[in-house]
């Protein structure tokens, strides 16, 4: 599973990455992480706000912090 965190490196983005890593560890799944900070690459996704979470090239959430249950749901389904 490829997980991308989109965001310019602000506090919220780092927090999202941390939450996602915790969720991945909890589920015990294989996933590689990428933190995308370049604005051009971020804008290639259909989002206007960061932080955003992209799982296997699908945008799951943008502009807000998902709750742990939401995260677990996406990672299980993905």
């Amino acid at each position: 599973m490829l997980i991308k965190i989109l965001g310019s490196g602000c506090a919220k983005c780092n927090r999202l990455e941390q939450l996602t890593r915790e969720a991945v560890a909890e589920l015990g799944i294989e996933a590689s992480f990428e933190h995308v900070t370049e604005m051009d690459k971020i804008m290639a996704y259909p989002i206007m706000t960061t932080p955003a979470l992209v799982v296997d090239e699908k945008v799951k959430v943008s502009g807000r912090m998902p709750s742990k249950d939401e995260l677990l749901g996406w990672l299980k389904a993905g």
């Binding site: 965001g7 310019s8 602000c10 506090a11 919220k12 983005c13 927090r15 604005m39 971020i42 804008m43 259909p46 989002i47 206007m48 706000t49 960061t50 932080p51 943008s62 502009g63 807000r64 912090m65 709750s67």
Partner: protein, 480 residues
């Protein structure tokens, strides 16, 4: 040695007046509002109006709305600006958004209102709004040709829901708290109940404080009152409890969360209390403001309970993040401003910007462009200039230019929209800030609003109509 003591006292005086009751009553609710805007307002509720097909009657006001509601955090400004420009409504609204955001966010507005006066806050928002839209439209007209190749992706602007009613109600209560704490209205300031607390040591403590931080009304130094000292103590206590209570609230509420919140409410209520040291003790005055602030603090509790636990956690976490990010910078900035204040001769400021001239306004703008101050520190700097005799006109010119234009923001803008457009934008902002200063200065100098308001409205209307006509002309030629 004497000058060092004077300088340090200047810094302390500046800090003391910053931590005084009226500033806390404005900044503390403003931080909570900023947190709520960031955590609870669904961004899609405004972004959906900024799509590529939105008419400019919708997209420009929506861009301004996004500037004041969504852009409280720097994480939002850059992607939103790039997004509006590259995928959405285009260069014009993107520029309006960029221009309006730093002047109209709740923290800047509330702090300006308390430190410099409500008229400065109102002037800042009105001028930023009208000129922000004006600059956006000029930019859109200038670069119309290069602005057609935009990615059209519908998904980005999918209509989400609006802002839920409970969020509006919650924000309304927080704004009411901010207003009740700051407005100088008779029914808020009138004393309802006086309580005299006998404490013989009070006068001695106040005398000691006066020696440490002398009151100097000419320089705008308010000194440090006993109430101020207690408030600083309370703030210290809040920061100790909030470090864990609010800073780690996203892992679930912990035991310190309610303690930190209760202390915050207590601090607000105490700040709203009138307190005067007399010969025999301390005279406490319960005012309308005390009651209003206490009642609103209590009312926020049931309103917050209507949200999911997760949303409330996000709200508190965001609020604390803003405090952590901005408050230390402000404290240091305010202290340094107080020290610098001691060394600047009022004559220098008065000779450069003491009157509302074109040159003085341009000086304000130039100072704003070349100096970069962290968020909100422009306000104490402006306050210092005001007390040194700067004319309100050039001051507004400075206040408009400083947060909009710094070398850093110019570089970021250039990376997104290109160098030529970025420098055009810089030129326009400099021009319009000078105009804004001149307008406000003329109003302060007594030019009637009846002459100025039609002037400003006419100027903006002129831009809007002429650009509208140019565009219609272009569309007509394209059809032929």
């Amino acid at each position: 040695m004497d000058w060092m003591i004077t300088a340090l006292q200047g810094g302390m005086a500046s800090l003391a007046s910053y931590l005084a009751a009226h500033v806390l009553l404005c900044l503390v609710p403003a931080f909570f509002i900023a947190g709520a805007l960031s955590a609870l307002v669904p961004q899609q509720s405004i972004i959906r109006f900024l799509g590529p097909d939105a008419s400019k009657w919708v997209s420009y006001p929506a861009a301004a709305g996004a500037g004041s509601l969504l852009a409280v955090c720097s994480c939002t400004i850059q992607p939103l600006f790039a997004g509006i420009y590259k995928k959405g409504a285009g260069l014009g609204p993107a520029v309006t958004f960029l221009f309006f955001a730093p002047a109209a966010n709740i923290l800047a507005l509330a702090y300006t209102g308390v430190a410099l006066g409500a008229d400065f806050a109102i002037a800042r928002i009105v001028l930023a709004l009208s000129f922000g839209i004006g600059i956006g439209m000029i930019m859109a007209a200038l670069y119309r040709e290069g602005d057609v190749a935009r990615l059209a992706d519908v998904e980005t602007f999918a209509a989400g829901g609006g802002i839920p009613g409970r969020t509006l109600l919650f924000l309304g209560a927080l704004v009411a708290l901010l207003i009740a704490g700051t407005l100088k209205l008779d029914f808020l300031t009138a004393g309802l109940l006086h309580v005299e607390m006998p404490w013989s040591g009070a006068a001695a403590v106040q005398a000691g404080l006066d020696q440490l931080v002398p009151v100097n009304e000419a320089a705008g130094a308010e000194g440090l009152s006993l109430q101020g000292l207690i408030l600083i103590g309370l703030l210290g206590a809040i920061s100790v409890f909030a470090w864990k209570g609010l800073g780690q609230v996203d892992n679930g509420f912990n035991r310190l969360t309610p303690v930190a919140l209760a202390l915050t409410a207590l601090t607000l209520a105490f700040a709203a209390l009138g307190m005067r040291v007399t010969d025999t003790g301390v005279l406490l005055t319960v005012t309308g403001r005390t009651l209003a602030v206490s009642a609103l603090c209590l009312a926020i509790w049931p309103l917050a309970r209507r949200f999911d636990g997760w949303d409330v956690q996000q709200w508190l976490w965001e609020t604390w993040r803003f405090v952590k990010q901005i408050f230390p910078l402000l404290v240091v900035g305010v202290f340094l401003v107080g020290i610098i204040r001691v060394f600047i001769q009022p004559e220098w400021i008065r000779s450069i910007a003491g009157a509302n001239t074109v040159l003085a306004n341009m000086a304000g703008v130039v100072f704003g462009v070349f100096m970069y101050f962290p968020t909100l520190v422009e306000v104490p700097i402006a306050k210092m200039f005001l007390s040194l005799g700067m004319h309100p006109g050039p001051l507004i010119a400075y206040l408009m230019a400083d947060p909009e234009l710094s070398l850093q923001s110019i570089l970021i803008t250039a990376a997104i929209i290109g160098k030529l457009k970025a420098w055009t934008y810089v030129g326009l902002v400099a021009l319009f800030s000078t105009l804004a200063g001149l307008t406000y200065g003329a109003w302060v100098d007594g030019t009637s609003l009846l002459i100025l308001a039609p002037g400003v409205i006419g100027f903006v209307a002129l831009i809007v109509t002429s650009l509208h006509l140019i565009e219609r002309g272009r569309q007509a030629t394209r059809k032929e």
